[in-house]
Symmetry: C2
Subunit: 291 residues, 2 copies
């Protein structure tokens, strides 16, 4: 059973599972595990690892439209180096501070491979699900896409400082709250835009029509991409932590006023039978399958 099949099995088993985060009595909870081999390329600093790991969980809280209350991390490594550990904690603390959340520590574990497990907690009485998109809604993306794709190429090329900068991101906690009052469906883009749209389409029983020239491709992608490859990297690579949301078109300007980041309207929600398309062609359900 691959990870997607396993997640589907769990979703059937657990009533609260199946969205970016679980919600119980207004408490929003999400947990993620990341590890060296698949998530932290050579050159990733422990500061960046702490920031990114905790940020990934905060992004799931953002995707529910909730403010974050606290985050914790379990840090597992073969040895505990003082400087590495402090750098990790500072990265974790700094990303929390960026979104007015408290990093409250966690657990340490001896482990052959550097592995981090993070949990973030938020609170909302009105979470935004993946399931409410309606034909006619506009579909929006916060910020820009492709930063992580660009970062990986830069890690490969030894440009680790710039790659680390790109690998850290601002969790869209504030934007999530700005979107929440109007959003009909929302999730984060960690599996890539294409896969996220397919997941929203499945949860909401709808289709999407995306216009490629409105997809906000990060400038860093154009720096590293081969000719004609930028759009592909920005839409399918994933591991970015932007929000993908649907909302009534008439709410767009109010939402833009209420959010602190650019919000690109990239297309519209269609009937399920219309499928997920980009420039009128079927957009494949391809993206990052988390390892």
């Amino acid at each position: 059973m691959d990870e997607r099949a396993a997640l589907a099995l769990l979703s059937d088993e657990l009533a609260a599972a199946g969205d970016d985060a679980a919600v119980v009595d207004g408490l929003v909870v999400t947990t993620d595990m990341l590890h060296d081999r698949t998530d932290f390329p050579a050159g990733t600093t422990r500061y960046t690892a702490g920031w990114r790991a905790v940020g990934a969980s905060l992004s799931d809280v953002a995707a529910m439209g909730a403010p974050a209350t606290a985050a914790v991390a379990a840090y597992a490594a073969p040895t505990f180096d003082r400087d590495e550990l402090l750098a990790f904690v500072r990265g974790a603390s700094d990303v929390c501070e960026r979104v007015d959340t408290e990093y409250v520590g966690g657990d340490l574990d001896g482990h052959d491979e550097f592995t981090v497990s993070t949990t973030a907690i938020g609170r909302t009485d009105d979470p935004v699900p993946r399931s409410g998109a309606r034909p006619g809604d506009v579909v929006c993306v916060t910020g820009t896409l492709g930063r992580s794709a660009a970062a990986l190429r830069l890690f490969d090329r030894g440009r680790t400082d710039r790659a680390n900068d790109l690998f850290r991101f601002e969790p869209r906690i504030a934007a999530g709250q700005g979107l929440a009052p109007h959003a009909t469906a929302m999730m984060d883009s960690s599996d890539g835009l294409a896969r996220s749209l397919h997941q929203l389409a499945e949860a909401s029983d709808c289709g999407f029509a995306i216009e490629s020239d409105r997809v906000p491709i990060d400038d860093a992608v154009r720096e590293v991409a081969d000719d004609g490859e930028a759009l592909e990297l920005a839409t399918t690579f994933g591991e970015d932590f932007e929000l993908v949301a649907t909302l009534p078109e008439e709410a767009l300007s109010a939402v833009r006023d209420a959010t602190d980041v650019p919000l690109a309207a990239i297309g519209s929600v269609r009937e399920a039978g219309d499928g997920v398309t980009m420039d009128g062609e079927a957009l494949a359900d391809r993206g990052y399958t988390h390892g």
Copy 2:
């Protein structure tokens, strides 16, 4: 740097760390990572692993005197076997149900070694710290000690059914709430009774005088122990999840009425200069160092 030194470093770095769980605005949060090599002996079922991993985090919430609200787990394994995954989830769900908490799922991750990271969340406006024990208080332990020590011997001997039974435990959420109104200090016994007493002594700046014949040794320990070894196993092996609490002696009968498990009064709190003793002899700070 070993794990204890690393934890001390983190405790200096993070205001909310250093107790069984962090408390932020009444929200109690704790996370733990367990893995195959050090935490799940051969023969441990995935049902038991799910129960035990989630239970360990619930025990930390119990040690703060709080009810638990929700728990999550990240499950990492080389492959996702349907039956193993479902068994894990059922173990996790069942231990939550036992303490009126909701298991809300988590994350999956491909990993060379079976690894579980769990987080439990509770809520209390009046957490019980490790630091309030006062000379003259009585020191108590819930339930019995040594179940995990006995379980490990039984796993070694191939008696896996009995060992799995002993390896699952009831998190002392209800007892923790019964103790909380009167307890001056509390923690769980996961590092073993001896080490827990030393940690309470350090946090509260006190000593302890323990009477060995009042230590509640689990019957299973006597089944597996060599002559004269039972007390040692029960006091230093650890990996049990009972509560160790101090409280004024006059509160003892009220607390016993309010808790659902036996509460053994095993000694008294002394001045710091008296040290930590058992039957008048120094009790070494030995126990389980979590790997």
